[in-house]
Amino acid sequence: MSNTIPVTIDFSGGAEFLVKAKAQKVQIPAKSTLRDVLKFVRDNLVTDVHRINMLLSDDASEVAHGVITLINDTDTGLLSEYDTVIEAGDTITFVSTLHGG
């Protein structure tokens, strides 16, 4: 039995400029929670480390203020927030509300 599951991590609303690509298919450990995904994003996907605070808190335990997290297009506030267990095939989306020009 595989210890990892495939998920898609999507960034939009400006958050895509902080990472490698807008949508990325990755493998994460099975039974990971959203909180584990945040750490995965910090360690593996973020490229603009100087502006990581626009996406995640200092210890990557939460998203930065103004960043919305969705799992399969559902607000995680309606699920178990950071304790939501991620399942194979899920799409986790980070939507930022950056300011415009």
């Binding site: 609303g13 400006g14 400029f17 103004g66 969705l70 939507v95 509300t97 950056l98 415009g100 020009g101």
Partner: protein, 314 residues
């Protein structure tokens, strides 16, 4: 559902307030500032104009792209992105790009397409802003000059109505800021749908929609591709505005999500019973006052070195 709610919100705003009762004055400036809220407003207007029968929004829009960045490279980036966005939304209407520094114009101007109008005045504009030594008043001066810029452009184009993409989060913070700055008596006009100022009218159709609702809608409908993301300007750490922001953030982090709604619904009921009978207004911020400048603008003027504010009040 969010989609129809957004459109309904704009329709209701227009109908309840009887903004468009005069059939001859349907020209409206639609402000697009590159934010998710700006892109949302454009998409809603675009959709509403495509509707048939009674659902159609009867306005004649002119899109004003409001630029606030000062770096020439970033301005060019905005112009390039606007060309792309124009091909998606409201392609058949006039688009004008103007820098916030247009507030420095002293008389009506002819605005050209495909260039950033007013960019030549950026040094002069920066000079005025930097002349203000108190961070709170500096931020407030930026806000006031932005509104002055909108009014200046609207007057130049002979348009009396201007729709801005201010959402509930922006206006909730603004309400608290204005209370702290001593404009409590004018709160209602500053944060509700309609703000009538003599021959100019500011319309805020998104005043009941939160940033979160807008961002989720934009993501689900692919509108977030039509934003122009520029890193948020850093708010001075020691200002009323930054304190307000951290106050709201703390409450939201503690799950008090309805703070903004409560602030806005209370603010909308606050009217100045002692406003001047002649309807005279502050020459800088346009709130009702019996004097040439309101008390807050007088304080801003005193905080500025030299006579930088004088040009706006003559």
């Amino acid at each position: 559902m969010l989609h129809s709610n957004g459109q309904k919100q704009i329709q209701i705003s227009a109908q309840q307030e009887k903004i468009y009762k005069d059939a001859d004055a349907r020209e409206t400036l639609i402000v697009y500032d590159g934010t998710p809220s700006g892109a949302f407003l454009l998409s809603q207007i675009d959709d509403a104009l495509k509707q048939i029968t009674y659902k159609r929004l009867m306005v004649k829009p002119t899109v004003l792209v409001m630029v606030s960045v000062t770096d020439p490279m970033e301005i060019q980036l905005v112009l390039d992105r606007v060309k792309e966005i124009k091909s998606v939304f409201l392609e058949s209407v006039n688009w004008i790009t103007a820098h916030i520094a247009c507030c420095m114009y002293t008389e009506s101007k002819v605005f050209l397409e495909d260039v950033c109008n007013g960019a030549e005045l950026i040094p002069e504009y920066n000079d005025v802003i930097s002349s203000c030594s108190i961070p709170t008043y500096q931020k407030e001066l930026e806000r006031v000059l932005k509104e002055k810029c909108l009014q200046m452009i609207a007057n130049s184009l002979s348009i009396s109505k201007c729709m801005v993409p201010d959402d509930a989060d922006d206006l909730g913070r603004l309400a608290i800021d204005q209370l702290c700055l001593g404009r409590g008596g004018s709160l209602s006009a500053l944060v509700t749908v309609l703000d009538k100022r003599d021959d100019f009218m500011l319309i805020r159709p998104l005043c009941d929609v939160s940033k979160k609702e807008i961002s989720i809608y934009n993501h689900l409908c692919g509108i977030d591709e039509h934003c122009i993301p520029i890193a948020q300007t850093k708010i001075e750490t020691k200002s009323v505005q930054s304190l307000t922001d951290s106050f709201i953030r703390t409450l939201e982090n503690e799950k008090f999500y309805s703070t903004i709604n409560t602030v806005l619904s209370t603010a909308s009921k606050i009217h100045n019973t002692n406003s001047s009978k002649e309807g005279s207004r502050c020459l800088l911020c346009f709130v009702e006052t019996a004097d040439t400048l309101c008390k807050t603008c007088l304080a801003i003027q005193r905080a500025c070195t030299g006579d930088k504010i004088g040009r706006f009040v003559r």
